[in-house]
């Protein structure tokens, strides 16, 4: 699946998007954050405080317990500061 990163999540990881293939045991957004956090130092830094990370699946906000099955694009970003 395609994942995208924005703002300081993007800066900490050092890329804006990539394709990842997590194992089948990764079922929810929470699982995916935990798995990504284990992909190296930059990822661990980006996801060091999982509760502040906001997630969208296919352009819609989702909660941490949302299932990721069937997702085309999952985005990770800090709380929004627009307007």
């Amino acid at each position: 699946m395609k994942v995208k990163y924005f703002a300081w999540v993007r800066e900490r990881i050092g890329k804006s998007e990539e394709t990842v293939e997590p194992p089948a045991s990764v079922r929810t957004v929470d699982d995916l954050i935990a798995w990504l956090a284990g992909q190296g130092e930059t990822y661990a830094h980006a996801f060091e405080t999982p509760r502040v990370i906001r997630v969208a699946i296919d352009h819609a906000h989702v909660q941490p317990d949302a299932a990721i099955a069937g997702a085309r694009e999952i985005a990770f970003f800090p709380p929004m500061t627009g307007g």
Binding site: F6, A56, A75, F77, M80, T81, G83
Partner: protein
């Protein structure tokens, strides 16, 4: 007459007068247009801010604004609304965002404009980075923005 909904995300500045005219020209059913424009402040907490850089999530930002525009249209008797959000580098004193709401009467226009801004701040995928004398940093979220959005939730 059909309602006019305009949503744009752009780097360029906007002309508020022209946007109001686009919403009202040729119509006689509008009695009120409420305009909210958000402007880049030149200081925050006593520290000077030279500029902001706005990042957004293309695709989702438009979708999220459209969703809230639809909610506003269904909740208040609006004849039209416009939301323009700028991205890229915006210097102190420049426009960031514009919300226009038009209606036969002022109450609906005032309420819808406030609703749209509160939801935009809390839910639309935009992020601000500030340029201060000591360097640049991402703007922290304000819990007051989440609280402002939450008050529109119907129980």
């Amino acid at each position: 007459m059909a309602a006019t909904v305009t949503i744009r995300i752009q780097e360029a500045d906007f002309d508020i007068g022209r946007e109001i005219a686009a919403l009202t020209d040729g119509r006689t059913d509008i009695g009120a247009v409420v305009t909210f424009s958000g402007i880049c402040r030149g200081s925050e907490g006593g520290e000077a801010i030279a500029a902001l850089t706005l990042e957004h999530y293309p695709g989702m930002a438009e979708a999220e604004i459209a969703r809230h525009a639809e909610t506003a249209m269904s909740r208040w008797p609006l004849t039209g609304l416009t939301v323009i959000h700028r991205v890229g580098r915006i210097e102190a004193g420049e426009n960031i965002v514009l919300v226009l709401t038009a209606s036969a009467h002022r109450q609906a226009a005032f309420q819808a404009a406030e609703f749209l801004m509160d939801y935009l701040k809390a839910n639309a995928p935009f992020w601000k980075r500030e340029e201060k004398p000591g360097g640049t940093s991402w703007v922290d979220t304000h819990s007051r923005d989440d609280d402002a959005a939450a008050r529109w939730t119907r129980s």
